[in-house]
C-alpha cells in the first residue's frame, strides 16, 4: 500500500487516492512512424526489476498526473516530479543515485526544449 507525495499539491496520498498510469517518459509515435516505432511506443516496456519511472494521477485529490521514481522490488520511492518532463529531472537522478550508486540513466540526453505539439502533428 504505497504512499506517494503529489508534487502539485504537496499532499502525501495513499495508493487508494491515486490511479496508476504505467511507464513514464514514453515518446508518442503517431502517423508517419514506422511499425516498429509504433509497436515499441505502445507495447515494449522496460518493466525493470529495480529503479523504475512511472506515471500516477492524484485521482482522488488535485487531479494532476505526476511521475514517480520507485524501486519495483523494495517499493522504495526516490522522489516524485511533475509530468511535464521528457526525462527524469537531474534532482531525481541524483536522488536515485544516492540510494542506488550503480544505477545509471538509460537515456542519452535531455532535450533542450520540451516536445511541442506542432512537431508531432506536422
Amino acid at each position: 500500500m504505497l504512499t506517494l507525495t503529489c508534487p502539485y499539491c504537496g499532499n502525501a496520498a495513499e495508493e487508494t487516492e491515486l490511479a496508476p498510469g504505467g511507464e513514464a517518459h514514453l515518446k508518442r509515435f503517431g502517423p508517419g512512424s514506422s511499425d516498429e516505432q509504433f509497436e515499441d511506443y505502445l507495447f515494449a516496456r522496460k518493466n525493470p526489476k529495480g529503479v523504475h519511472f512511472e506515471r500516477w494521477r492524484h485521482a482522488y485529490g488535485c487531479g494532476k498526473w505526476f511521475l514517480a521514481a520507485r524501486d519495483t522490488v523494495t517499493l522504495e520511492v526516490f522522489g516524485t516530479y511533475k509530468a511535464q518532463t521528457p526525462n527524469p529531472t537531474p534532482e531525481i537522478v541524483a536522488a536515485v543515485q544516492a540510494k542506488r550508486p550503480n544505477w545509471t540513466p538509460d537515456w542519452t540526453s535531455t532535450p533542450a526544449t520540451t516536445t511541442s505539439a506542432e512537431s508531432l502533428t506536422e
Partner: protein
C-alpha cells in the same frame, strides 16, 4: 472442588472474578465459567480437557497453548446468523449464554467414526494421496475425492448471512508499538515522552504480557508504566486489538474486538484499523515450542507456559499431578506456580545434562525430583494423560521408569514472534546457542524512504527475559532439542507430532526429505506442516529443525517459509466492513431517480448508476412495456432521463485543436450553435466512446459521452492534456452532475415543449436538427439540443441538475393529453437499432475500429493525426478481411440470438468451426413488427442479400439475410421534422 467447576482452584486467577458466574453450553451440556474466563479456561475448569479432533487422523485434542497460537482448541461458536466455525477457545472471552460445539467429529467428540483414520496411520503418511487414487480414472472424481473432501474441513460452514456489523477506521501515528507487554509499554513511554504520537496495540484484554505471571513484582512494574502512559495525551493504548499484518510503506492492519460474541451490545462487532505508521516497534513477544516426543499430542500434554497461565490467570488446574518436561530453565517457573497453587509436581524431566540455575534450584528446594539428561519415551493414555514413560535423552527410547501424572507441561524453548517483522521483507538470523530465529537488524523491512520501517524489541527481538526491565533472574542456556530422545526409533517418530492440528509428525517431515521435497516450502506443502489455522506458530521451528537434520544441513540453510498475513485469522466480515447492503457500493442517482422509483421503473445497473430499463405497468411484462414505450414515442411523445450521459466542458484557445486529436472527426470546424456527432478511439485504434459535441462559444465546446464513459473520457482528456500537450491552452471540466438532461422525443415533442413556455424558439428554422439553443423553459434555465438517437424529432433539454425532477414533472403534467410516456434504456436501444445507429458496448467490444462500422464518414481524411489514427494503419486493422457492420434480417421470422456466430465452411487447424461474422444487436422491432439485427460480417457490405447460417445447439439453425443496417426511416425525415 468449587462450584466454579471441579478443576477451578480455590484461590488465584488474576483475571477472573469468581463472583460473576457465566453459564454456557458445550456440545449441548450446560456448564459454568466466571467473568474473565476464556472459553478454554472455562472448559478446563469444568474438567473438559478434550476440545476437538485433529484434522487428518481425528485424534483427540485438548489445548496445547493458552493464547493466539493454539492449534487444537477450536470450536463452533454461536448459532444461526452468528455462528462462527473454528473459534479459538484460548483467546475467546467467555460471555454468558454462549453456545459452543466441538468440531470435526461424528457422531460425538468422545466417539468419532473418523478416528478410524488413526488406526490406518501407517497407510496415510504425508502425501499419500499423490501416490494413489490414480486408477481407474473416473474413481478419483466419483469416489475418492468426494470421500477426501467430506472428511476434510474443520468447522461446519455457516449457512446464513451475518447478523453483526463491522466498521473500519484509519489511524496515523509517528510510532505504532505492537504488543502491550513490558517491552512494548516501555518503548511507548520512551517515545511518548519525546512528544511523538504513539499508538500501542495489545491483542488481549490486558496489558502486561507475560510479566505479571513470570516475575515476582511484574504487575507492579506494569501498573507503574501504565500510570505514566495514561498521563501522556499523545499516547493511545488499545487493548483487544490484534495487529494482523504489516504492509508496504508502514501500512499496518489491526483488528479491534468491540463486541465479539456479545450480540446485545448493539455496536459493531469488530473494527478494522488501517494505520499509517511512521515506524513500527514489534514487541510481540515470543511463543513457547513443544517438544517432539512420542505421544506429545495426547490431551493433557500442554506447553509449560500455558499450564502456568491457566493456573495463574484463571485459577484453573489443567491437572492435579504434573510432570514438567523441558530443555530450559523457564519451564521451572511452571513447577513453582503449580506448587504455589497446591498442585503436585511429580518430576521435572530436563534433557540437559545438568540444571543448576536459580530456577531449577528453587524447584529442587521445594522437594521436587529433577531428572536431568532425561527424556520422555512415551505417554500413557489416549484421551488423557495417565503417565509418562521416561528414558535417557541421549538414547533411543528404552523406558527406564513410568511416572503417574495427569498433565505434562512441556517446553522446548521459545521462538520470537517475528511475523510482523517478516510480512514486509524483514529477514531473520539463526542463533545456534539460543536455538531461535530472531530479527536481523541489518536486514529490516524497509519503507517508502528505503530505511527500516520496523524495530523489534524485547522477546520479539530474541531477548526472552527482557531482564533490563523485568528484573528477571539469570537463566542457564537451553539445550536445543528437536527430537526426544536424540536417537528415537523410526517407529517412535510416527508418534511425535509437529503440527497438532494437521497431524504432521516427525516421520512425515523425514519422509518429505527422503523423497526430495527438500526446499522448506516443498516440505511444508507436501506434508501440510504449518498450514493449519495456527499457521505453524507452534510447529514450524521444530519442523524445519527436523528437516535440516534429515538433510544434514544447518538450520539457517533450510530457512523458514514465508510469513504471510494475517498473524491470526481475520474475520472476512471485518474486511468487508460497512460495504454491505445499501452501502455495498455507491449507487448513483439522477435527480429524477425518485420519480422513476415511484412510477414503477425497473432499473438496470449502468456503472454505478441505476437507469430505468422500462416502466412496466401492473401485470405487464418487461417486453410488453418496452414495446408500448416505443410505440408511444414513435406515435406521440416520450421522455428519457438522459442525465447520466457524460458532459465535459472543453475550453480554451487550443480547444478545437485538442478536440481534433480526441475525435476521429473534425470538431474545430463546428460552428457556434451547432452540434456534431463524434467518435473517440484509444491510442490502440479501438473505438471506445461516442457522443455529440456542441460548440458553446468561440473557445468552448460541450462534449457528451456515454453514461459509462464520462469519468473515463474526462480522465483520458486530462491525461493527454497534462502529459503530452501540456503547452496547449485547454481547460476541461466534467460537469456531468451539474445537469439533468431529458430527451423529449417523438412527433409531438415540439408541441409539448412549446406548451411549457420560455425564451427559446423551438421552431425548425430557429433550432434546426443538430442545433442547440440556450434560455429558459418552464421558468428553468436550460440548454436544448436538437439531437436524436431514436430517429424521431427529439430535443435533449439540460437543466440545472437539482431542478431535473421539477422539469420532468412539468413535462408530464403538460403532456398528459398527448399520452406522454416515460421510456427506459431498452426502448432507447431498440429505437436506435431500428435506425441502424451503433451502440458503444454492443457494436463495439474493445476490438472494433470505426472503419469496421461503416463510419468512415466520421473519420476525417484531412487531419494528419488523431488518437488512434496510427494504430488503425497497422496491417491487421487496415486489412480488407475485417468483419464489417451490416443489417441482418431473419429469414424465418425468429429473433436472432444475441452474440451468435455465423459459420463459414470447414474448420481451422485446431478443429474449430470457421466463422464469418456475429450478431451484435438483435431485437423484435415493435415499430416494424419484425425481427431486426445488426452484426459484423466478413466483407459484409459487399454481400447484400446473402443468407448466413447461425447454428445454435438444441435449436434449428438460424438464418439471416445481409441487409442495410438502417431499418426505419432511411431518409431521416422524421428527425428533421
Amino acid at each position: 472442588m468449587s462450584d466454579n467447576g471441579p478443576f477451578r482452584l480455590s484461590r488465584g486467577g488474576r483475571l477472573i472474578d469468581r463472583a460473576y458466574q457465566l453459564p454456557f453450553r458445550f456440545d449441548g451440556r450446560q456448564m459454568r465459567g466466571v467473568q474473565g474466563d476464556t472459553i478454554a479456561s472455562a472448559l478446563l475448569a469444568n474438567g473438559q480437557l478434550m476440545m476437538g479432533r485433529s484434522f487428518k487422523y481425528h485424534r483427540p485434542r485438548g489445548p496445547v497453548a493458552s493464547g493466539a497460537e493454539e492449534p487444537n482448541a477450536l470450536l463452533g461458536l454461536g448459532q444461526g446468523g452468528r455462528f462462527e466455525p473454528n473459534q479459538r477457545a484460548t483467546t475467546t472471552p467467555l460471555v454468558g449464554g454462549m453456545v459452543t460445539t466441538s468440531q470435526n467429529c461424528w457422531p460425538s467428540l468422545n466417539f468419532d467414526i473418523g478416528a478410524v483414520n488413526n488406526k490406518l496411520y501407517r497407510f496415510l503418511p504425508a502425501g499419500f494421496y499423490y501416490k494413489t487414487f490414480i486408477h481407474p480414472r473416473p474413481a478419483w472424481k466419483h469416489l475418492f475425492e468426494p470421500i477426501i473432501r467430506r472428511s476434510a474441513g474443520l468447522g461446519k460452514a455457516p449457512t446464513e448471512g451475518d447478523l453483526d456489523t463491522y466498521e473500519q477506521a484509519y489511524g496515523h501515528a509517528d510510532l505504532v508499538v505492537v504488543g502491550g507487554g513490558i517491552a512494548g509499554l516501555t518503548a511507548a513511554l520512551e517515545a511518548g515522552r519525546t512528544g511523538k504520537t504513539v499508538t500501542l496495540l495489545e491483542q488481549t484484554p490486558q496489558f502486561g504480557g507475560r510479566t505479571p505471571t513470570d516475575h515476582a513484582d511484574g504487575q507492579a512494574r506494569i501498573d507503574a508504566l501504565l500510570a505514566e502512559l495514561h498521563a501522556l495525551p499523545n499516547v493511545t493504548l488499545r487493548r483487544n486489538t490484534m495487529a494482523t499484518g504489516l504492509y508496504d510503506h508502514g501500512y499496518l492492519i489491526a483488528r479491534e474486538a468491540l463486541a465479539d460474541h456479545d450480540p446485545n451490545a448493539g455496536i459493531p462487532r469488530q473494527r478494522l484499523w488501517r494505520i499509517r505508521a511512521g515506524h513500527v516497534v514489534v514487541a510481540s513477544g515470543a511463543l513457547e515450542r513443544p517438544l517432539s516426543f512420542a505421544g506429545n499430542d495426547v490431551p493433557g500434554v500442554i506447553l509449560a507456559s500455558a499450564v502456568r497461565d491457566f493456573v495463574d490467570l484463571y485459577g484453573v488446574a489443567p491437572g492435579r499431578n504434573l510432570v514438567v518436561v523441558t530443555n530450559n530453565d523457564d519451564a521451572y517457573r511452571t513447577a513453582l506456580t503449580a506448587l504455589d497453587a497446591g498442585l503436585a509436581v511429580a518430576a521435572v524431566i530436563d534433557a540437559r545434562p545438568t540444571a543448576q540455575g536459580a530456577l531449577p534450584e528453587a524447584v529442587r528446594a521445594r522437594g521436587v525430583r529433577v531428572l536431568t539428561g532425561s527424556a520422555v519415551a512415551g505417554i500413557k493414555g489416549g484421551q488423557a494423560v495417565e503417565g509418562v514413560k521416561l528414558c535417557a535423552h541421549s538414547g533411543s527410547g528404552d523406558v527406564t521408569e513410568v511416572i503417574a501424572a495427569d498433565c505434562v507441561a512441556m517446553s522446548g524453548g521459545w521462538s520470537p514472534v517475528v511475523h510482523l517483522w517478516s510480512h514486509c521483507g524483514g529477514k531473520l538470523s539463526w542463533s545456534e546457542d539460543r536455538a531461535m530465529f530472531y530479527p536481523d537488524l541489518a536486514r529490516p523491512p524497509t519503507g517508502a524512504d528505503g530505511a527500516a520501517m520496523a524495530t523489534p524489541l524485547g522477546a520479539a527481538a530474541g531477548d526472552l527475559t527482557v531482564a533490563e526491565v523485568t528484573g528477571a533472574v539469570a537463566e542457564q542456556p537451553l539445550l536445543p532439542v528437536w527430537v526426544m530422545p536424540v536417537n528415537a526409533t523410526r517407529k517412535m517418530k510416527f508418534k511425535m507430532w509437529l503440527d497438532f492440528q494437521n497431524d504432521v509428525k516427525v516421520s512425515d517431515v523425514e519422509l518429505a526429505a527422503q523423497e526430495g521435497y527438500q526446499s522448506v516450502e516443498h516440505t511444508k506443502r507436501y506434508t501440510t506442516l504449518g498450514m493449519a489455522t495456527d499457521q505453524g506458530k507452534v510447529s514450524n521451528i521444530n519442523g524445519l529443525a527436523v528437516l535440516s537434520k534429515a538433510l544434514n544441513q544447518p538450520i539457517p540453510a533450510t530457512g523458514t517459509t514465508t510469513f504471510r498475513p494475517p498473524y491470526t485469522p481475520l474475520t472476512l466480515g471485518t474486511i468487508g466492513a460497512e460495504a454491505r447492503g445499501e452501502l455495498f457500493q455507491p449507487l448513483r442517482k439522477t435527480d429524477i431517480h425518485g420519480w422513476h422509483e415511484s412510477n414503477g421503473a425497473f432499473f438496470e445497473p449502468v456503472g454505478h448508476w441505476r437507469r430505468p430499463y422500462c416502466y412496466p405497468k401492473a401485470g405487464e411484462s418487461h417486453h410488453d412495456a418496452v414495446a408500448r414505450e416505443i410505440r408511444a414515442v414513435r406515435a406521440s411523445v416520450g421522455t428519457l432521463d438522459a442525465s447520466t450521459l457524460g458532459k465535459i466542458i472543453v475550453k480554451g484557445p487550443d480547444a478545437g485543436k485538442f478536440l481534433d486529436m480526441m475525435y476521429t472527426g473534425l470538431m474545430s470546424t463546428l460552428p457556434v450553435g451547432k452540434c456534431r456527432y463524434g467518435l473517440i478511439c484509444n491510442e490502440n485504434g479501438f473505438l471506445v466512446d461516442d457522443g455529440v459535441a456542441a460548440r458553446l462559444s468561440e473557445d468552448t465546446w460541450l462534449v457528451h459521452t456515454t453514461t459509462g464513459g464520462a469519468d473515463r473520457m474526462h480522465a483520458h482528456m486530462e491525461d493527454w492534456l497534462q502529459c503530452e500537450w501540456w503547452d496547449w491552452k485547454v481547460y476541461t471540466a466534467n460537469v456531468t452532475e451539474q445537469w439533468s438532461q431529458v430527451a423529449v422525443v417523438g412527433p409531438k415533442a415540439r408541441v409539448l415543449l412549446e406548451r411549457l413556455g420560455g425564451t427559446i424558439d423551438l421552431s425548425a428554422e430557429a433550432l434546426p436538427f443538430m442545433g442547440w439553443a440556450e434560455g429558459e423553459i418552464a421558468g428553468i434555465p436550460a440548454r436544448i439540443f436538437r439531437i436524436s438517437f431514436s430517429g424521431e424529432l427529439s430535443f435533449e433539454v439540460a437543466v440545472p441538475a437539482k431542478r431535473g425532477r421539477e422539469f420532468w414533472e412539468k413535462l408530464h403534467e403538460a403532456g398528459r393529453d398527448l399520452g406522454i410516456t416515460p421510456y427506459g434504456t431498452e426502448a432507447m436501444h431498440i429505437m436506435r437499432a431500428e435506425k441502424g445507429f451503433i451502440m458503444i458496448g454492443d457494436e463495439t467490444d474493445g476490438t472494433v475500429i470505426p472503419q469496421d462500422l461503416g463510419m468512415s464518414w466520421a473519420i476525417s481524411k484531412k487531419k494528419p493525426d488523431y488518437i488512434g489514427k496510427r494504430a488503425q494503419e497497422r496491417s491487421f486493422m487496415s486489412s480488407p478481411e475485417r468483419w464489417k457492420l451490416v443489417g441482418l434480417e431473419s429469414v424465418d421470422g425468429r429473433v436472432l440470438p444475441d452474440g451468435v456466430y455465423a459459420v463459414a465452411e470447414g474448420s481451422n487447424a485446431n478443429g474449430q468451426r470457421n466463422t464469418q461474422g456475429r450478431v451484435t444487436s438483435t431485437y423484435m422491432s415493435p415499430t416494424l413488427n419484425r425481427p431486426i439485427a445488426m452484426g459484423l460480417v466478413l466483407h459484409g457490405p459487399n454481400r447484400m442479400g446473402e443468407v448466413l447460417e447461425f447454428p445454435v445447439q438444441g435449436a434449428e439453425t438460424y438464418k439471416a439475410r445481409i441487409v442495410d443496417p438502417v431499418f426505419y426511416d432511411k431518409e431521416g425525415s422524421r428527425a428533421n421534422g
